[in-house]
Amino acid sequence: MSGETLFGLCGAALVGIGLYGLLCHPGLLRKLLAFNLIGGGVFLLFGVIAKRGGGVLTLAGVRRDGDPVPQALVITGLVVAFAATAIGVALLRRFADASGRSTLEGEDPPLPPSEREAGPS
């Protein structure tokens, strides 16, 4: 087994673990973290494909390694994932301020309604 395959399997495991966290964690911030885990796994799969694609260059005697197209896509993806995380963090901070909760589920808030209404809305 080569290193690329190993990292590919690692990426697959990360997607699985992240998906579990996204579905099972009630806390919104934990869901966001799990979402980023999935992202890391998907990017890693891209990286494995990029590395495999670079094998042709090595055979042809070019000094460079790796297919630059998936690598450029991952850089684009990392920037967009950061922007999405920033929006997610801002949304859930605002949600927690307004509702006094950090979970979406459940109609009954843990705080008394009077205190809940006091939040900025």
Binding site: I17, L28, L33, L73
Partner: protein
């Protein structure tokens, strides 16, 4: 023969250890008791992922992962975890039951197993665009194929990506309450002023700015580029803000807004000029590719650095409407 076999095996052991550490950290991030612990684990996870990117010969991606995916994302998540900690105790009561978790767990394992099968069954001469990029790199004048792809071959992706950062910031800002709209971004932790932090925020930024500019400049021929450089610049700005040496700009002020759109505007202007000068949108005239790419990269670096810093700084709040708020 035996020596090379040994080298391959030891490289595989290092790779295996790295993969196991990353999976262990992912489990920790999912299982940690507090979100704060999970967010700190996420930063360690990101740094290890950056090492994996180096092992996959993608140093450009490793730099982006370390600066952006780990540093700035980690700061966002740690800040949010500290802020949401009071609400966290009520979370565990809402966790799904054991049976449901086992069901979800086995389905997620099935997804992971499917992806693993795809990895193991990837087609054997791997499909690749690398020789094509390699053959078409000289006309762009840049030596780093990733920069060539980002700025020339797939410039439309990069254009859309830099443009989409602006709506993302608008999205963050629009979460402000009406009364807070004339305030300053307020999501950064307000730390008590301390000597070491102030010193760090005074000493580090000059070097950080040099490193950021260097990353942008060498990105033409070596690993680096505008996103990596801009992330370093944004980190320096955020350090100065967190230390309290400067305050975030008012969201209503003109200068940061102009800086935000400068990069995309320059990119669109040069791309549109390409319709007449080179026959296609985002095409560069022969011989002018490199100077134009450098111009776009310089403008984009400023805009991306400002947008990343403002995304970390969060929506505006009016905290202390005192007279000394002006600076």
């Amino acid at each position: 023969m035996r020596g090379s076999g040994l080298a391959v095996t030891s490289a595989l052991v290092v790779d295996g250890g790295l993969a196991l550490l990353i999976i262990g950290l992912a489990v920790w991030i999912t299982a940690a008791r507090t979100a704060y612990g999970a967010a700190v684990g996420f930063m360690a996870y990101g740094l290890l992922l950056a090492l994996v990117w180096v092992r996959l010969s993608a140093v450009d991606v490793a730099l982006t992962e370390a600066a952006l995916g780990t540093g700035l994302t980690g700061l966002l998540l740690v800040g949010a975890a500290a802020r949401l900690a009071p609400y966290e105790a009520a979370e565990s009561a809402r966790a799904p039951g054991l049976g449901l978790r086992v069901l979800i767990g086995s389905l997620c394992a099935a997804v992971a197993a499917g992806l693993a099968a795809v990895v193991l069954l990837l087609p054997e001469p791997a499909p690749t665009l690398a020789p094509l990029v390699d053959a078409n790199l000289p006309p762009t004048g840049v030596g780093n194929p990733v920069t060539g792809v980002l700025m020339a071959h797939r410039a439309i992706d990069t254009l859309l990506e830099t443009v989409v950062l602006v709506p993302a910031l608008i999205g963050v800002w629009s979460l402000a309450a009406d009364g807070d709209w004339r305030g300053r971004p307020g999501s950064l932790p307000a730390l008590p002023s301390s000597g070491p932090l102030t010193l760090l925020a005074q000493v580090l930024p000059p070097f950080g700015i040099l490193v950021g500019a260097h990353l942008v400049w060498i990105g033409a021929d070596d690993p680096g580029g505008k996103f990596q450089g801009a992330a370093v610049l944004a980190a320096m700005w955020v350090l100065v803000l967190v230390a309290g040496l400067r305050r975030p700009p008012l969201v209503t002020s003109r200068t940061p807004r102009l800086l935000l759109i400068l990069g995309p505007l320059v990119f669109i202007a040069i791309g549109t000029a390409g319709i007449w000068l080179a026959g296609d949108f985002l095409a560069y005239p022969v011989g002018w590719a490199k100077p134009l790419i450098l111009t776009i990269e310089a403008a984009l670096t400023l805009s991306v650095a400002v947008v990343l810093g403002l995304l970390v700084a969060g929506p505006p709040v009016v905290d202390d409407p005192g007279p000394k708020a002006r600076r």
